[in-house]
C-alpha cells in the first residue's frame, strides 16, 4: 500500500515537471518530436531507477548524521551531509558513463535508441533532483527509493510525451508570431501544470486538509520546521 501510494504520488501529485520544474531544459529542447521525446523519457526512467537507490545507500551509510556508526563508535558523531551534492553528482556522472558503456556492449539496438541522450542526462536536473528530493523526503527503505526513482521517471516521461504530442499538433495552429515556439510551449506547460494540480486530492479523497497542492503544504512544513528550529535555538541559548 505504501508502495502504491508513493508510486501514484510521484507520478501525478509531485510530478517532476509540473510541480517542481525539474529537467525543464531538456524538456523544452527535446520535445519537438514524439519519437525523440520517447527516447529521452525512457533514458530518464532508466537512469533514475539506478541512481536514486544508489544515492540512497550513500546517504544512509555515509552522509547522514551518524551514518558512519557501522565503522565503530568513534565515528558516531560525524555528519558528512554537506558532501551530499558532490557525492550525488559524482555517482550520477560515473553511473551514466558506466551505463553507456554496458548498454553499448550488450544491446546495440537499445544503445542506438538511448545512446545520444545518455550524456545529456548527466546534467539533467531531474536526475540530481530525484536524489536530492529522495534525501529531503527521508524515504525509508531501499525498495521505496527504487520505487521513487522509477515512478518519478515515469511522471517525467508522461510530461514530455504529452508536450511533444501537443507541439506536433500546434504547428498547424495560428499562434501569434512572437509567441511561436518557446513562448507558447511555456504557456501550455503552465496550463498543463494547472491541470495536474487537480490530482492533489487524489490520495486523500479530496478532504480540505490534504487537498492542498504539494508545494503549499511543503511551504507550510518548511515554516513549521523553521519555527521549531528557532525554538530549539532559543532553548539552547537559555540553557547556556
Amino acid at each position: 500500500m505504501e508502495h502504491l501510494e508513493l508510486f501514484f504520488k510521484s507520478i501525478f501529485v509531485d510530478n517532476m515537471v509540473f510541480a517542481v520544474f525539474l529537467g525543464m531544459c531538456s524538456y523544452l529542447a527535446v520535445s519537438k518530436k514524439v519519437a525523440t521525446a520517447v527516447g529521452l523519457g525512457a533514458a530518464v526512467i532508466f537512469v533514475l531507477a539506478i541512481t536514486v537507490p544508489l544515492n540512497w545507500l550513500l546517504d544512509q551509510y555515509l552522509l547522514q548524521p551518524g551514518a558512519l556508526s557501522w565503522l565503530g563508535d568513534e565515528f558516531v558523531d560525524y555528519d558528512l551531509s554537506f558532501l551530499s551534492f558532490i557525492m550525488f553528482i559524482a555517482t550520477i556522472a560515473t553511473m551514466v558513463q558506466l551505463v553507456e558503456i554496458v548498454v553499448e556492449k550488450f544491446s546495440p539496438s537499445l544503445y542506438n535508441s538511448l545512446g545520444i541522450f545518455l550524456p545529456l542526462i548527466a546534467v539533467n536536473c531531474a536526475i540530481l533532483g530525484g536524489s536530492l528530493f529522495m534525501q529531503a523526503r527521508e524515504i525509508e527503505t531501499l525498495s521505496l527509493a527504487f520505487n521513487y526513482g522509477v515512478s518519478s521517471g515515469i511522471g517525467w516521461f508522461l510530461a514530455i510525451l504529452a508536450i511533444a504530442a501537443i507541439r506536433e499538433k500546434i504547428r498547424y495552429s495560428n499562434v501569434p508570431a512572437p509567441l511561436r515556439g518557446l513562448g507558447i510551449t511555456f504557456i501550455i506547460t503552465g496550463l498543463m501544470g494547472i491541470g495536474f494540480l487537480s490530482f492533489g486530492g487524489m490520495l486523500t479523497g479530496g478532504d480540505e486538509e490534504g487537498g492542498k497542492p504539494a508545494t503549499e503544504t511543503a511551504l507550510e512544513n518548511i515554516k513549521i520546521e523553521t519555527e521549531k528550529a528557532k525554538e530549539l535555538a532559543e532553548n539552547t541559548k537559555t540553557i547556556d
Binding site: 554537506f82 551530499s84 536536473c125 533532483g129 529531503a136 512572437p178 509567441l179 511561436r180 518557446l182 504557456i187
Partner: protein
C-alpha cells in the same frame, strides 16, 4: 567605459536582453521557476548563480588546457559542485530560513544548464578575464528574469515586495483593498511562473522581431 573595451562590454550587456539565457538560449529554467514566488528568494538565487558562474567560468578557463576532453563533464561537475557547497553552507550559516525556503534548489544550481552551457560554449575556449565577464553577464541576465517573475508573482499573489506590504492590509481593508481589490493566490502556484515567463517572452519578441521563431 574606460575600464572595458567595447567588445568586453558587449559580453556583459548581450545576455541581459537579446541573448538572454532564459528567454532566448532556453537554459537554466530548471531551478529558476520554483523559487520565484517571493522576490527575496529570487534575489538570493540570482546572487548565488552570479557567484557560482563568475568563479566557475574563471576556474574552468584557467584549467581549459589541462582538462582531458573525455572527462571534462565530470571535471566541470566537480568544480560547480564545490562552489555550490560553499554557497549552501554560507546560506545555512547566515540565512537559515531562506535556505529552508530554497531547499533542494540550491543543490540544483549544479545541474543548472546555464552553468554547464557557458562552461562548454565559452570558458573552454576563452581566457579567464573574458570568461569572467561572460559569466557575470549571463548570470545577471538570469537574475533579471528571476527578479521580474518574482516581482509580479509576489506583488499580485500576496500584495507584498520583499515581504513588505505595499498594497495595504488585506484583513483591515486599507490601501487598494478598500476599493475591493483581492490578492490572486493563484500567482503563488508553480504553474503561474511558467505562464509569466511565457508572457515575458511574448513581450520581448514583439519588441524585437528578429527573435521570432518560425
Amino acid at each position: 567605459m574606460g575600464l572595458l573595451s567595447k567588445k568586453d562590454a558587449k559580453l556583459i550587456t548581450d545576455p541581459l536582453a537579446d541573448n538572454n539565457p532564459i528567454t532566448i538560449q532556453v537554459l537554466g529554467i530548471c531551478s529558476a521557476l520554483a523559487i520565484t514566488a517571493e522576490l527575496k528568494a529570487s534575489l538570493v538565487m540570482g546572487i548565488a548563480v552570479l557567484f557560482v558562474l563568475g568563479i566557475g567560468n574563471v576556474v574552468i578557463s584557467l584549467m581549459r588546457n589541462i582538462i582531458p576532453s573525455k572527462i571534462r563533464i565530470i571535471v566541470q561537475l566537480i568544480v560547480v559542485a564545490s562552489l555550490v557547497i560553499i554557497v549552501d553552507q554560507v546560506l545555512k550559516a547566515f540565512a537559515y530560513e531562506l535556505s529552508k525556503t530554497l531547499a533542494v534548489f540550491v543543490g540544483l544550481i549544479i545541474t543548472n544548464c546555464i552553468i554547464m552551457g557557458r562552461f562548454e560554449a565559452f570558458a573552454l575556449g576563452n581566457g579567464p578575464w573574458k570568461s569572467f565577464l561572460d559569466g557575470i553577464g549571463n548570470a545577471a541576465g538570469y537574475a533579471v528574469i528571476l527578479l521580474i517573475v518574482g516581482f509580479f508573482r509576489e506583488l499580485l499573489g500576496s500584495g507584498t515586495l520583499f515581504g513588505i506590504p505595499v498594497l495595504g492590509d488585506p484583513i483591515e481593508k486599507t490601501g487598494v483593498y478598500s476599493i475591493g481589490y483581492e490578492n490572486n493566490g493563484f500567482m503563488l502556484m508553480p504553474p503561474m511562473a511558467l505562464i509569466v515567463v511565457g508572457l515575458i517572452i511574448w513581450v520581448q519578441r514583439s519588441r524585437n522581431k528578429a527573435l521570432i521563431e518560425d
